[in-house]
Structures are given as C-alpha cells and as structure tokens.
C-alpha cells in the first residue's frame, strides 16, 4: 500500500483518508509514529500546509496525537473509532450503490440476497 492521489477531492482530504486507511489496516499500529509532515511533503512533493491540514483532520478526530518535540503518533483506540465511523457509513457507501447497480442489471431482491450469501460462503472458504 502506498499513497496515491487523484482528482476525487481536495488533496488534504485524500491524505487524511489514506492515512486513516493505513491506521485501519494496521500498517501503523496504535502508539506507533506516523511519517512527519516534513517527510510526507518531501517524498510526495506536496506543500507542507496541505499535508498539515490533512493530518490535523485526523488529530481533530483523535486518531492521531501530537507529542511535543517527537511527532505524530497513532492514538489509542484509533482503529476502533475508524471501525465505528465506517459501520455508520456502510449503508450509504456500499449498500445504496450495490442496490442501484443491481437494479440496472435487473437483479431482484431475492437474487441479490442469494449473491450476498454466495459472497459470504466464498469468503469463508477462502479464509
């Protein structure tokens, strides 16, 4: 996994989203240090003000914490917090678009339910 930027939204938001994803998937664990504004700015060629704005979003959501003179660290309970938010957004982010696409394909409710069941079965055999 790496940082990748497109035109989906403001750059600072993309930085915040991707750092969040890295925390969620455990690339950066709770209590661990994340790259500094300086590092991200230099490596990704992004204005430090933009990087800082993205990081501050995560600080405000208490996913990151500043330790004076040391840098930014993943806050305790960050992963759990991200999980909660994502659960709340799940219906809007995934279910609505799933149903919309199913409608375009003339897949009815019963059929869609079967497909979801199949997904769960395949998922469990893969584990």
């Amino acid at each position: 996994m790496n940082f990748h930027f497109d035109q989906s939204g403001p750059l600072y938001q993309q930085i915040a989203d991707q750092l969040e994803e890295m925390i969620f998937t455990g690339i950066y664990r709770e209590g661990e240090q994340v790259p500094s504004t300086t590092q991200l700015s230099q490596e990704l060629h992004i204005n430090p003000a933009t990087v800082l704005k993205g990081m501050n979003q995560l600080v405000n959501r208490q996913l990151l914490e500043k330790r004076r003179g040391l840098g930014m660290f993943v806050a305790a309970g960050a992963q759990e917090k991200i999980m909660e938010t994502r659960k709340e957004d799940f219906y809007h982010d995934y279910v609505q678009s799933l149903v919309a696409e199913a409608r375009k394909l003339n897949i009815n409710e019963a059929h869609l339910m079967n497909l979801i069941k199949r997904g769960y079965q395949n998922g469990s055999t893969e584990d």
């Binding site: 930027f5 035109q7 989906s8 403001p10 504004t37 300086t38 230099q42 060629h45 992004i46 204005n47």
Partner: protein, 290 residues
C-alpha cells in the same frame, strides 16, 4: 512580514500591449504558480516585479516602499530566469559568489550538495553547460540565495524527470526549513499542482485567475455522459469548454454546483486537475471575447 503588491501594472511596447492593468498581491511564505500561454506576459511581469523591466503604468510595492530603484527592497527579491545575465566567462561557483555578494549568507553547503546531486561541475562556465545543467545550476542558486521572494521563471526547462523530482523535493525541504515565497512560472502544470498553494493565470495580457488552488479545484468540474443529458444538466451553467466523442459529451465548468439539482444517473461528475482547470479558464475567456 509585508506583502509584495503589484498595483495596476501595464506594459506597452510601441503599439503592442504586453500587460494590461495587472493588480495582485504576493504574500510572504507562500508558494505560487504563475500560469499562462507563451506570450501571455509572464516573463515581462516577473521582470517588472524584479525591476529588470519598467512598467508603462503602475507600480510594485513592498511594504511601504516602491521597489523600483530601492536597494533594500530589491535585496529581498530574487529572479531566476532563462535570460543570461552573466558574463561569458562566469562559472557556476562565480554565479554563487555573485548571489552571496548581492544578498549575503548564501547557503554554500546546500549548493554543494545540490550541484553534486544534479551532476553540475561548479568550475564549469555557465555558457558551456547544456540547457538542462544550466537550469540545474540556476535553480541551485535560487534555492540557496538569501531572499524572501524568489521568482522562478521556467525552473524545469530542459530538466529530465529525475532532476525535476529532485527539484520538487529540495524545494519542499528548503521551504519547510525556512518558509519564504516562491513564484513558479511553468507549463508543466500537473507536476507543480501539489507544490503550490495559490495560482495566478495570465491570459491575453490580463490576470484572469487569482485564487487558492484548493478553492479553484473544489468548484472545477468535468461533467460527462450522453450529450443530451449533459446539455440538459448544464443548461443553466457557464460551460467553459466541451468535447464530444461520438454520443458522449464532456463539459467543463468552474462554478459551484447546485445541490438541489439532481445529477442524472448516466451523467458522471468529477473534479478537474489544475491543468484542466487552467485550460477551461483560458478557453472560457476566449469564448467571451469571440
């Protein structure tokens, strides 16, 4: 720290209008892009700001002082440009010494590191270097000079991808260590998009955009889908540019979209990058004038 103000600057050469009533403010410690097609007047504007050329009307002011012929103000401004203002025999290290004499406290340590990284021989004469290495030597000088407002006219000219990447990295590094203003004039818009905070667009000798990149891109949209659906959706909008490929049409708009107006299912709305926004702005301006 004071801002640099350009107040109603116009420039005429005989009957040719090169700049028409340009007013803008350059804040301290900010990175700007200055965009515009060839001949739009970018270099003339940069030369006027740095007192290397003179306006027919208007003035450039730093704090309380007009910059023209005011040595203490001029010592805070540095222009790196393509034009060769050095003697035939001037070497790379000679250029550094001149910057040190003119501005003081030249960062030789960084300069040595950068020339080494760029593969520039400091003893070589500037006139003997290739375009790319001349540029590398000049941007090295610009990053190490002690000035508060640094103007870079085409700082990527002739640089290969590796050297451009190094330049962006070093620019971010030195900017973070010692924030100061950089104004970058370039045609490689996509590569500088994330480096700059604010953009000026010169078009047809006028200033047509003066805005934070984030704000501009936030309301810059490409709208594509079946032509009739796109036409209907954009009916009340000012379409700056459009393309049609077969039955699919893409319209470019820079305005806030109405949240109340639903986006049709077969229409896709995405944000533009800075280059697309620049093209839409300049094209939209041409449409008005036609």
């Amino acid at each position: 720290m004071e801002a640099l103000k350009i107040n109603g600057v116009s420039k005429r050469f005989g009957r040719t209008q090169i700049l028409d009533d340009i007013s803008l403010t350059i804040q301290p410690q900010t990175i700007y892009a200055l965009l515009g097609e060839n001949g739009a007047g970018k270099s003339t504007l940069l030369n006027i700001i740095n007192d290397r050329n003179f306006p027919s009307k208007g003035e450039v002011v730093l704090g309380d002082h007009e910059v023209h012929n005011h040595y203490p103000s001029l010592q805070r401004l540095y222009l790196m440009s393509d034009s060769n203002m050095y003697g035939k025999r001037t070497s790379v290290s000679g250029m550094f010494q001149l910057a040190d004499e003119g501005y003081g406290h030249f960062d030789y340590e960084l300069a040595h590191r950068l020339t080494k990284a760029f593969g520039v021989n400091e003893h070589a004469r500037l006139s003997n270097l290739s375009t790319g290495l001349t540029t590398a030597a000049k941007i090295t000088c610009a990053l190490c000079v002690n000035a508060d407002f640094i103007f870079l006219d085409e700082p990527m000219l002739g640089l290969d991808a590796n050297h451009r990447n190094r330049f962006y990295r070093e620019l971010m590094k030195t900017y973070e260590q010692r924030p100061r203003t950089f104004v970058i004039s370039s045609h490689i818009i996509n590569e500088i998009q994330s480096l700059v905070e604010h953009v000026f667009v010169l078009h047809d000798h006028h200033l047509i955009a003066d805005e934070d990149v984030e704000n501009l891109l936030n309301r810059a949209y490409t709208i594509s889908g079946p032509a009739d659906a796109v036409d209907q959706y954009t009916q009340a909008m000012k379409v700056l540019d459009q393309q049609t490929v077969g039955k699919i049409k893409t319209a470019y708009v820079i305005e806030k979209l109405d949240d109340q107006q639903p986006i049709p299912d077969d229409v896709t709305v995405t944000h533009m990058n800075l280059q697309q926004a620049y093209l839409a702005l300049t094209n939209g301006e041409d449409e008005i004038n036609e």
